[in-house]
C-alpha cells in the first residue's frame, strides 16, 4: 500500500543517528520496496483480434497519464491485406471520434511488426491533457486484419530522481550525513520504480470448437525479475474428440517450452520455475494458451476456464541476501547495519544482474476482448483477479468487487446514457471504503447481470474525478 511508505528526514552533520527517527524508517522503506519487487504479479494480458469480416477497433489499452512517463511503447504483430491498414490511435478528446492517429501500417503481405519494427515508441506528452487523465490507445483495423499486441507500456523517466552514484561504502569510520542521505535517495529512486499500476489477472472461460487446427485463447507477457515462478490454474470441461489444451512459454530467446498438453477434463494447476525454462532476468517472456483440434478430423472441443495466471516468488529458495534489520535506541550503530541498507537497495536496482530488479514500466491495462474478436471461440465470465496493492480502482462498465470466497461483494456504479446503454465511462473507486477488503487481500472484479466490464486496474493515485 502506498500509505505504508514513510518519508525520511534529511540528515545533517552533527545530528544524532536515530533508531525510530531514521534507521527503522530506512528498514521499513527497504521492506516496502522489497515487497513491491516480490509481490504477486499479474502478467499483462495481451489482446488480439482474429477477424470476422469487419473493420473496427477491438484492441484497447489504457493507463493513467503521468508526465514523468511520457513515452508510449507498443509492440504488435499485424497482417494487412491489400487495400487495408492497421492504425494505432490515441484518445485525445472526450468526443466519441476524438482519436488521433499515431501510426498507420499499410504494409501488406505476411504477418509483420506493426510500424516496421518490433517496438515502436511515441512521446505522447504533446497531446496532454488527456480525457480523464488517462492514456487510451487502440488499434483500428480494416477488413480481415488479424493482429495482436505483444506489449503496451508507458515509459520514460522525466523529472524523477536518479540513483546515487556511487553509493557509499560504510565502514568503521565517521561518515558524513551525505552518506546516510544517499541511502534515502536510493530508496526514493526505487520507490518511483515501484510506483506502477497494479494489473489484474484476467480470468475468463473460453469455449472452443474446431477441426484440426490450432487456435490461441489467450496471450500474456511479463518481464522476468526477482519473481521466478509462473503459476497457472485452469479448468477444462467439455473436452471432446481428442482436442489438446496447450500452455506454452516462449522465453526471451524465442525458445518454446510446452508447459501443459492437456487432453482430459479436469481442474489443473501447476507452478514452474521460469529460470529453469531459460527465462533471463530482464527478458520479456510470453505465455500462450490455446486449443489444438483433432488431428484425425472431427470437431475437437474444449471449454477452458482460466482461474489464475500469475507470476510470483518461488515457494522455496528465495533469498534476500542483504535483508536489513531494525534496531532500537541504545543499540550500537554498526557499519553492517548501513551496509545492509546499501546492498539491499543495490539489489533492487532495475538491472539484469540484480537479485530483485524493480523494472520501471507502466504496463497498460487491456480492455477485455469482446466475443466478436475471436474466431471459433466464445468467451464468457470475464473479469479480473487482484491482490490489493493500491487504493484506487479504475474501471469501465458494470463491475462488482467480490471476495474470492464469494462471501462479500460490493457493487460499483455503472454509467448509462439516456437510452440506458452502457457508456463505459471511466470511474474510480476508493478501495479504502470497502470494509472487508484489506491490503494484500485477493479479490475479483467481475461484471454483473448481462452487462459488460471493459477493464479494471488499480492505481496509486486518483487522477480522475470520475
Amino acid at each position: 500500500m502506498n500509505e505504508g511508505w514513510r518519508d525520511q528526514v534529511t540528515l545533517y552533520d552533527g545530528m544524532l543517528l536515530g533508531a525510530r527517527t531514521w534507521q527503522r524508517l530506512a528498514v521499513r522503506r527497504a521492506d516496502w520496496l522489497y515487497a513491491q519487487a516480490h509481490g504477486a504479479l499479474a502478467p499483462q494480458a495481451l489482446t488480439f483480434y482474429t477477424p470476422g469480416n469487419e473493420a473496427g477497433a477491438q484492441v484497447y489499452y489504457e493507463t493513467p497519464w503521468h508526465t514523468e512517463h511520457p513515452t508510449l511503447q507498443l509492440s504488435a504483430r499485424v497482417t494487412v491485406p491489400a487495400g487495408q491498414y492497421v492504425s494505432l490511435q490515441l484518445k485525445t478528446g472526450s468526443g466519441v471520434d476524438d482519436w488521433t492517429e499515431l501510426q498507420r501500417d499499410t504494409t501488406t503481405g505476411a504477418e509483420h511488426w506493426f510500424g516496421g519494427s518490433e517496438i515502436r515508441t511515441y512521446n505522447v506528452s504533446a497531446y496532454a491533457p488527456f480525457p480523464d487523465d488517462v492514456v487510451l490507445v487502440r488499434l483500428w483495423h480494416g477488413l480481415s486484419c488479424p493482429h495482436y499486441v505483444r506489449q503496451a507500456v508507458m515509459t520514460g523517466w522525466i523529472g524523477l530522481p536518479s540513483y546515487p552514484n556511487p553509493m557509499p561504502t560504510f565502514g568503521a569510520s565517521a561518515h558524513a550525513a551525505a552518506d546516510f542521505n544517499a541511502v534515502t535517495s536510493a530508496q526514493e529512486y526505487l520507490r518511483h520504480c515501484a510506483m506502477q499500476p497494479n494489473l489484474g489477472r484476467l480470468v475468463f472461460t473460453a469455449t472452443h470448437t474446431q477441426e484440426n487446427a490450432y487456435e490461441p485463447l489467450g496471450f500474456w507477457t511479463f518481464r522476468r525479475d526477482g519473481r521466478q515462478e509462473i503459476y497457472a490454474d485452469v479448468t477444462v470441461s467439455g473436452y471432446a474428440s481428442d482436442a489438446r489444451v496447450l500452455l506454452r512459454l516462449w522465453d526471451d530467446t524465442g525458445t518454446e517450452h510446452v508447459l501443459w498438453n492437456l487432453s482430459a477434463n479436469g481442474h489443473v494447476y501447476q507452478a514452474w520455475d521460469v529460470a529453469t525454462l531459460g527465462a533471463s532476468k530482464g527478458g520479456w517472456q510470453r505465455v500462450e494458451l490455446g486449443v489444438l483440434g483433432n488431428a484425425g478430423g472431427g470437431n475437437g472441443a474444449a471449454t477452458v476456464t482460466v482461474n489464475s495466471l500469475s507470476v510470483r516468488d518461488l515457494t522455496a529458495g528465495v533469498t534476500r541476501t542483504y535483508a536489513p534489520s531494525p534496531y532500537d535506541a541504545l543499540a550500537t550503530a554498526l557499519p553492517a547495519h548501513m551496509a545492509a541498507l546499501v546492498n539491499d537497495a543495490n539489489e533492487l536496482r532495475p538491472l539484469d544482474d540484480r537479485e530483485s530488479p524493480l523494472y520501471t514500466a507502466h504496463l497498460m491495462a487491456p480492455w477485455i476482448m469482446a466475443p466478436s474478436m475471436l474466431n471459433r471461440s466464445y468467451w464468457s465470465a470475464q473479469g479480473f483477479r487482484f491482490t490489493r496493492k493500491w487504493r484506487w480502482l479504475y474501471w469501465r462498465g458494470a463491475a462488482k468487487i467480490v471476495s474470492t470466497d464469494g462471501q462479500y461483494e460490493t457493487t460499483l456504479s455503472d454509467v448509462l446514457d439516456g437510452s440506458g446503454a452502457q457508456t463505459y465511462a471511466l470511474q474510480v473507486y476508493d478501495l479504502d471504503s470497502v470494509p472487508w477488503l484489506a491490503p494484500d487481500m485477493p479479490y475479483n472484479v467481475v461484471p454483473y447481470g448481462g452487462n459488460v466490464l471493459k477493464t479494471a486496474y488499480e492505481h496509486y493515485q486518483c487522477l480522475s474525478a470520475g
Binding site: 500509505e3 514513510r6 518519508d7 525520511q8 528526514v9 534529511t10 540528515l11 545533517y12 552533520d13 552533527g14 545530528m15 544524532l16 543517528l17 536515530g18 533508531a19 525510530r20 527517527t21 531514521w22 534507521q23 527503522r24 524508517l25 521499513r28 560504510f170 565502514g171 568503521a172 569510520s173 565517521a174 561518515h175 558524513a176 550525513a177 546516510f180 534496531y327 532500537d328 535506541a329 541504545l330 543499540a331 550500537t332 550503530a333 554498526l334 557499519p335 548501513m338 484506487w392 474510480v428 476508493d430 493515485q461 486518483c462 487522477l463 480522475s464 474525478a465
Partner: protein, 496 residues
C-alpha cells in the same frame, strides 16, 4: 550561551568590572538609545524573567513557557516616557507596543561590551507613574507580538519539522529565526486560521523539541538532542548561590504513555467548493467572494463557473474573470470575480475541484516503560496532528518517558526529573535559558549538569543577579550516541 563580544566572561569573573547596559526603543522606525534614562547603579533598575518551561508544571511543560517579561525603572524627569508630555516621544508616537531591547555587559577599554538581555515590546507605563520622576516601564517578549497572529497556509507534503516551522514563520512575518534541524517529517502539514505560536510550538513538541524566543528576539527551535554533548557554561557551588531547592513532581511519573496518531492522506480529485447562492455582478464590476473550501486541498485542479444575464442568456467564456484562479491557502479562496461585459451578470455556479487532504482514522499507541512498574499511571501525550505516523508516536513516547525520569546515578527509578532553583546567583550576562550549568550541591547531593530552564534576573546597584531554574540533565542522553560526521560507526549508539 550568548556570544561573547570579547571580555564579558573575564569581566564577570573579575572583582571590579563595571556593569553597564544599553537600552533602546524603536519609537518610529529606528532604534533610539535610551540608555541615559536607565541607571544601573540604582536599586531595582531592571528586572525580568525568561523561561523555557512553566516551573509549576514541571518538565512536561518544557517549550510551553510564558512569554519573557521585563520591568524597567527609568528616569522621567523630563517627561520623556509620559504620554501627556507634549513633544515627548511617548507623546508623539505613543509607547504601547513599541519595540524595546536591553543589552547588558561591562565597560571595557573605554567602551561597552554587551550581550542581548531582552527583546520585546513595551506593554505600558502606568499612568500614575507618568507624573513621577521615575517611571516603571513593563515589556513583554516577542511572543506577545505574535500571540494573536493567525496563519493560513497551503498544504505542504513531507516537510521536516524545522522546514514547517520556517514556513509558518515566513507566513507570520517572523523574520529572525534560529532553527535546529528537525528529526521528523510531517507527511501533510497546513494551518488554517491557526495561531502561529501554537502551530510552531505543536510542531516542535511533536518531535520532542522546543520553541522559544531568544533574548535576541529570534524564534528559536531546538530539537530533542540539542543538549547532547553540550559543555557547561559554568559551575555553581555553595559559594555561588544563596539557596538551592530541588523539587520533584511525583505526578510526573508514569508507567505508560499513550500517543494519538492522526494519519492523513491524499484524497481523490473532488469538489471542494460549491457556490451556495448566486452572485450578482454589475456591468464592469469586480466583486470579492470569500470562498471557504469544504476540505483542505493538496493540489488544485480547476474551477467551473457559470454565469448568465438572468434573462436566460448564458455568459460566454471570458465574460467573467476569476482572480486568483486557485485558492491562496488550504481552505481559503478570496476570489475576485470581474464582469468584463457591459451588462449585469449572475454567477450561478462556481465549483472548485482539487485533490483533497483527508484524515484517516486516528489510532492510539501505548508504550509502557519497564522502569516504573509500581506506578500504574498513564500519560496521555498532547494530541498533535503533526504526529501522523506510528514511528513518530513511538519516538515521542520514548522521549517523554525518558525525560520524565531522573537519570541521576543512585536515584531510584521512581524519582522524577528534578527542578532545582538556585537563587541569588551572581549572574553572567552571557547566560541564557537553555545553557547547561554544572551544579555541585553538597546539601542535596546533586553533582552534575543541569539545564537552565528559566532565569529571573535583576539589574541594579551595579550588580546583576539571577535566580536559576535548573532542570537536572542526568540521563537525558544515557549513552554515547552516534553523531553524524563525527562518531565512528560502531562506536556510538542509536538515539531514539
Amino acid at each position: 550561551v550568548k556570544a561573547d563580544p570579547g571580555h564579558i566572561a573575564t569581566n564577570w569573573a573579575a572583582a571590579n568590572a563595571a556593569l553597564c547596559a544599553s537600552l533602546e526603543i524603536n519609537w518610529n522606525g529606528s532604534w533610539v538609545d535610551e540608555s541615559g534614562y536607565l541607571d544601573v547603579s540604582q536599586p531595582g533598575a531592571a528586572s525580568g524573567s525568561h523561561y523555557l518551561f512553566r516551573p509549576e508544571q514541571g518538565i512536561l511543560s518544557l517549550g510551553w513557557a510564558a512569554d519573557a517579561v521585563m520591568s524597567l525603572r527609568l528616569d522621567n524627569e523630563g517627561g520623556r516616557f509620559s504620554r501627556g508630555k507634549a513633544g515627548s516621544p511617548a507623546n508623539l508616537y505613543g509607547i504601547h507596543n513599541k519595540p524595546i531591547r536591553l543589552s547588558i555587559g561591562y565597560r571595557h577599554a573605554g567602551g561597552a561590551e554587551l550581550a542581548d538581555q531582552f527583546t520585546g515590546y513595551v506593554v505600558d507605563v502606568p499612568a500614575e507613574s507618568e507624573a513621577q520622576s521615575t517611571v516603571q516601564l513593563t515589556a513583554r517578549g516577542m511572543a506577545s507580538q505574535y500571540a494573536d497572529r493567525k496563519v493560513s497556509t497551503l498544504v505542504y507534503e513531507g516537510l521536516s519539522t524545522d522546514a514547517w516551522i520556517a514556513q509558518l514563520c515566513t507566513e507570520a512575518g517572523i523574520v529572525s529565526t534560529a532553527l535546529d534541524h528537525g528529526y521528523c517529517v510531517i507527511p501533510f502539514a497546513y494551518a488554517s486560521e491557526q495561531p502561529v505560536l501554537d502551530a510552531v510550538t505543536h510542531a516542535a513538541a511533536a518531535e520532542g523539541g522546543f520553541v522559544h524566543f531568544a533574548a535576541s528576539g529570534a524564534l528559536t527551535f531546538w530539537n530533542a538532542t540539542h543538549w547532547y554533548g553540550a559543555a557547561a557554561v559554568g559551575t555553581l557551588t555553595l559559594d555561588d548561590y544563596g539557596d538551592v531547592s530541588p523539587r520533584s513532581r511525583y505526578t510526573d511519573i508514569y508507567k505508560r504513555v499513550t500517543v494519538e496518531v492522526q494519519p492523513r492522506q491524499r484524497g481523490r480529485l473532488q469538489r471542494v467548493y460549491e457556490l451556495k447562492a448566486p452572485i450578482w455582478l454589475p456591468a464592469g464590476a469586480a466583486v470579492l467572494h470569500k470562498a471557504r473550501l469544504s476540505l483542505p486541498f493538496i493540489e488544485w485542479h480547476s474551477y467551473e463557473l457559470a454565469a448568465g444575464t438572468g434573462g436566460g442568456n448564458a455568459a460566454a467564456e471570458g465574460d467573467v474573470n476569476v482572480s486568483p484562479s486557485s485558492p491562496q491557502s488550504a481552505q481559503r479562496w478570496d476570489v475576485i470575480l470581474t464582469n468584463t461585459t457591459t451588462h449585469g451578470l449572475w454567477v450561478s455556479k462556481l465549483d472548485g475541484f482539487a485533490y483533497a487532504l483527508e484524515g484517516r482514522d486516528s489510532q492510539s499507541y501505548e508504550y509502557a516503560s519497564a522502569a516504573e512498574g509500581q506506578v500504574d499511571r498513564n500519560l496521555d501525550a498532547p494530541q498533535l496532528w503533526e504526529i501522523q505516523t506510528e514511528e513518530q508516536a513511538a519516538h515521542i513516547a520514548e522521549t517523554l518517558i525518558a525525560w520524565l525520569r531522573d537519570g541521576s546515578t543512585g536515584v531510584a527509578s521512581l524519582q522524577p526529573r528534578r527542578v532545582i532553583t538556585a537563587s541569588n546567583v551572581s549572574g553572567n550576562p552571557l547566560w541564557e535559558p537553555g545553557d547547561v550549568m554544572h551544579l555541585h550541591s553538597t546539601e542535596t547531593g546533586l553533582d552534575g549538569d543541569a539545564i537552565i530552564g528559566g532565569l529571573d534576573w535583576e539589574l541594579g546597584s551595579n550588580d546583576y543577579t539571577c535566580t536559576l531554574a535548573l532542570i537536572n540533565a542526568a540521563g537525558l542522553y544515557p549513552a554515547t550516541f552516534h553523531k553524524i560526521g563525527t562518531t565512528v560507526l560502531g562506536a556510538g549508539a542509536y538515539w531514539r
